[in-house]
C-alpha cells in the first residue's frame, strides 16, 4: 500500500514539476533563451491566485484563467522591453537580463507582499479521496490532470496549427521565416506570452495546495531546469515525461534513502545521463 501511495504521490508531484516546467521549456526551446525569472513568474501567478481569492473572492475557475491572461501580458511585455534586445546577443547577455529580471520581480514581491508565507485555504477545490487506503488530494489531482491537458494543448498548438508552425518556423530560422512573410517579433512575443500564460496556469494551480511566498519559485527552479533539459529543450511532452520520471524517482528515493538525499539522487542520475546521452533523454541528436 505504501509503495502504491509513494508511486501515486510521485506521479502527482511529477505532474507538478511538468506543470511548472511547461512554460520554461516552451520559451527555452523557441528562442534558446534561458529564463532565469521563470520561478518568479510562477510566484507572481501564485500571488495572483491568492489575492484574487482573498481580496476579490474569485473562485479557482475564474482566477486560473485570470492568472494566464495577466502572465500572458507580462510575457509579451518582457519580450518587447527586454528579451528582444538581448536574444540575439551573446548567451551571457540573456542570462544577465533574465537574472536581473528575476531579482527585480522577487524582491519587488517581497517589498509589496511582505516575506510572510501565505496560502489558500485547504479544501478550496474539494477534499481528499480515499480509494481503498490510497489517499489523494483533489487539488493534486486537478493539478495533475491540468498538467496533462496543458501539455496536450500546447503540443497540439505547436504541431497542428498554422500559428504553431509559424512560431516554430521563426524559432528555427528567423531570417528564413521573415523571407516567407512571417514577422518574427510578434511571433516570438507570442511565444513568450504563451510560455508565460502556461506558467500562469501552472502557478495558479500549484497555489491550490502549496504555500506562497516571494521565494517560492526558487525551490522549484533547479528541478525545472533538470526537467526541461532531460525532456529536451522545447519539447512539452518531453517535459511531462521527464517531470513524472523525476517525481517518481524522488518519491521512492526519499522513502528508501532519506528525504535529504532525494535531490542528490535525481541530480546524480541527471549528470550520468547527460554524460552518456549528451542531448538529454528525449532530445534530438
Amino acid at each position: 500500500m505504501i509503495l502504491l501511495q509513494l508511486a501515486a504521490d510521485g506521479l502527482l508531484l511529477g505532474a507538478v514539476y511538468a506543470l511548472f516546467s511547461s512554460g520554461l521549456t516552451l520559451i527555452w526551446g523557441m528562442m534558446n533563451v534561458v529564463n532565469f525569472a521563470h520561478g518568479d513568474f510562477v510566484m507572481l501567478a501564485m500571488y495572483i491566485a491568492f489575492f484574487s481569492f482573498t481580496l476579490l473572492k474569485l473562485e479557482p475557475i475564474v482566477f486560473v484563467p485570470l492568472a494566464a491572461v495577466l502572465l500572458f501580458a507580462l510575457g509579451g511585455l518582457v519580450y518587447y522591453a527586454l528579451v528582444r534586445h538581448v536574444m540575439r546577443g551573446p548567451m551571457l547577455a540573456q542570462i544577465l537580463s533574465t537574472f536581473g529580471l528575476a531579482l527585480f520581480l522577487r524582491y519587488t514581491a517581497l517589498w509589496a507582499f511582505s516575506a510572510n508565507f501565505v496560502s489558500l485555504p485547504s479544501g478550496l477545490v474539494g477534499g481528499v479521496y480515499d480509494l481503498g487506503g490510497l489517499r489523494l488530494a483533489a487539488s493534486h489531482l486537478i493539478a495533475g490532470f491540468s498538467a496533462l491537458l496543458l501539455t496536450l494543448g500546447l503540443h497540439l498548438l505547436l504541431t497542428r496549427t498554422d500559428l504553431g508552425s509559424r512560431m516554430l518556423a521563426v524559432s528555427e530560422d528567423r531570417v528564413a521565416a521573415e523571407l516567407v512573410g512571417v514577422r518574427p517579433d510578434p511571433m516570438q512575443a507570442l511565444a513568450w506570452g504563451l510560455g508565460a500564460a502556461a506558467t500562469g496556469v501552472a502557478g495558479a494551480l500549484i497555489a491550490l495546495f502549496f504555500y506562497v511566498s516571494p521565494e517560492v519559485g526558487n525551490s522549484f527552479l533547479l528541478l525545472a531546469f533538470v526537467t526541461v533539459c532531460l525532456g529536451g529543450f522545447g519539447s512539452v511532452p518531453g517535459a511531462l515525461l521527464a517531470g513524472v520520471a523525476i517525481g517518481v524517482i524522488e518519491s521512492f528515493s526519499a522513502y528508501w534513502l532519506g528525504p535529504a538525499t532525494k535531490d542528490a539522487v535525481v541530480l546524480a542520475l541527471f549528470i550520468l545521463l547527460l554524460w552518456v546521452r549528451p542531448q538529454g533523454l528525449f532530445g534530438r541528436a
Binding site: 527586454l82 534586445h85 538581448v86 551573446p90 536581473g100 531579482l103 520581480l105 531546469f225 549528470i271
Partner: protein, 320 residues
C-alpha cells in the same frame, strides 16, 4: 585590448588599484575594496573557461567551496592555519576537473551549463549530509588569531594586499595566455568548436587545461574567502548564487576580455554593498540591483568592455 588600455592608462589603472584602499581611512570602504578584489579573482578565474573558452559554467561554486573547505578543514582537523589548506584545495580542484569536468565536455551550450549547475548542487547536498566536514552546520576558523599565520586581521588592508597579489598573478597569467597559442585555441573553441577542431585544435585537452587553471584559481579564491570570513557552510561555499555572481560579473564587465571581470566586480560589489547599506533595511536592495543589471544587459549586451571599446573608438574617430 590595446585600443582600450593604452600603456599610460594601464599604468594609471594599476596604480589606482594599489592605492585605492589607502586613500580612505574608512574600514568599511576598505573591506568593500577587499571584497571587490576577491570577487574579481573568482570572476577572472571563471573567465578562463567561461569567457575565453566559451564554456558557460554555472557550477564554479564547487571549486570555491572546495577551496574554502580545504582552508577551514586544515584548521579544524589538523590545527593548521587556514591558509595552509590552499594546496589541498588546488589538488582537489584538479581532481574534480579531471573526474567530473572531462566527461562534461561532451556537452554543448545549455546542456553543459545545466550539467554544471547540477554538479554544484549535488556537491552542496553531499557536503550538507557529510558529518565529517561539518555537515549543515559548517566549519569555523580560529576564533582568534593564534599566530600571524592565521591571517586574522581587524583591518581589511592586509586582505586587500593579499588579494591584489593573487589577482595580479592571475591577470598576468591570463594576459600571457591570451597572447599564446593556448589563448587563441581557447577563443577558437569558444567561438566554434567544430571549426577549431578541424584546424587541429585538440578541443577536449584545451578545455581541460582551461578548466584546470580556472578551477584552481577559483579554489584559491575560496580559500582566501574562508581565511577572511572564518566560516563556511554548504550554502556559503557551494550555493548557486556564488556561481551566478561569477558569471554575472564577468558577463557585465565583458566575458573573454582581460579586465572585464575586474570591471564587473568593481561595479557590482560596491553596488551590492551600497544598495544593501542604503535600502537593505527596507529589503529592497535587490530590487535596485536587479534593475541595474537588467538595464546594463539591455543596453550593453556585450558587456561594458565592449561598450568601452565602442566609446573609445568613436572618440578616436572624432579626434582624428
Amino acid at each position: 585590448m590595446k585600443a582600450l588600455f593604452p600603456r599610460a592608462g594601464f599604468a594609471a589603472g594599476a596604480l589606482l588599484l594599489f592605492a585605492a584602499p589607502f586613500l580612505t581611512a574608512n574600514p568599511f570602504y576598505q573591506r568593500v575594496a577587499a571584497l571587490t578584489l576577491l570577487a574579481a579573482i573568482s570572476a577572472s578565474a571563471w573567465n578562463v573557461i567561461g569567457g575565453y573558452a566559451g564554456q558557460v559554467s554555472f557550477g564554479h561554486s564547487v571549486y570555491f567551496g572546495i577551496g574554502a573547505y580545504a582552508a577551514l578543514l586544515a584548521y579544524a582537523k589538523l590545527g593548521w592555519p587556514p591558509i595552509a589548506g590552499l594546496p589541498f584545495g588546488i589538488v582537489a580542484s584538479f581532481a574534480l576537473s579531471i573526474v567530473v569536468g572531462l566527461p562534461s565536455f561532451r556537452l554543448r551550450g545549455h546542456y553543459f551549463s545545466m550539467a554544471t549547475i547540477a554538479i554544484a548542487a549535488l556537491a552542496g547536498i553531499l557536503v550538507t549530509n557529510w558529518d565529517f566536514v561539518g555537515g549543515a552546520i559548517g566549519v569555523m576558523g580560529p576564533a582568534r588569531a593564534r599566530s600571524f599565520a592565521d591571517l586574522l586581521f581587524r583591518s581589511s588592508l592586509p586582505y586587500y594586499a593579499i588579494f591584489l597579489c593573487v589577482l595580479a598573478i592571475l591577470l598576468l597569467f591570463t594576459r600571457l595566455l591570451q597572447k599564446s597559442r593556448m589563448g587563441f585555441y581557447l577563443r577558437a573553441i569558444g567561438s566554434d568548436e567544430r571549426v577549431a577542431q578541424s584546424l587541429g585544435v585538440p578541443v577536449r585537452r584545451y578545455k581541460l587545461y582551461a578548466l584546470l587553471i580556472s578551477g584552481a584559481f577559483t579554489s584559491i579564491a575560496g580559500t582566501l574567502y574562508a581565511v577572511m570570513v572564518g566560516f563556511v557552510d554548504p550554502n556559503s561555499g557551494f550555493g548557486i548564487l556564488i556561481s551566478v555572481n561569477m558569471v554575472v560579473m564577468a558577463a557585465l564587465g565583458g566575458a573573454g576580455t582581460l579586465f572585464g571581470p575586474l570591471i564587473g566586480a568593481a561595479i557590482l560589489v560596491p553596488l551590492g554593498e551600497a544598495t544593501n547599506a542604503l535600502w537593505g533595511a527596507r529589503g529592497i536592495a535587490y530590487v535596485a540591483y536587479g534593475v541595474i543589471i537588467m538595464l546594463l544587459a539591455r543596453f550593453s549586451p556585450g558587456g561594458l568592455a565592449e561598450l568601452g571599446r565602442f566609446i573609445v573608438k568613436g572618440w578616436r574617430r572624432r579626434a582624428a
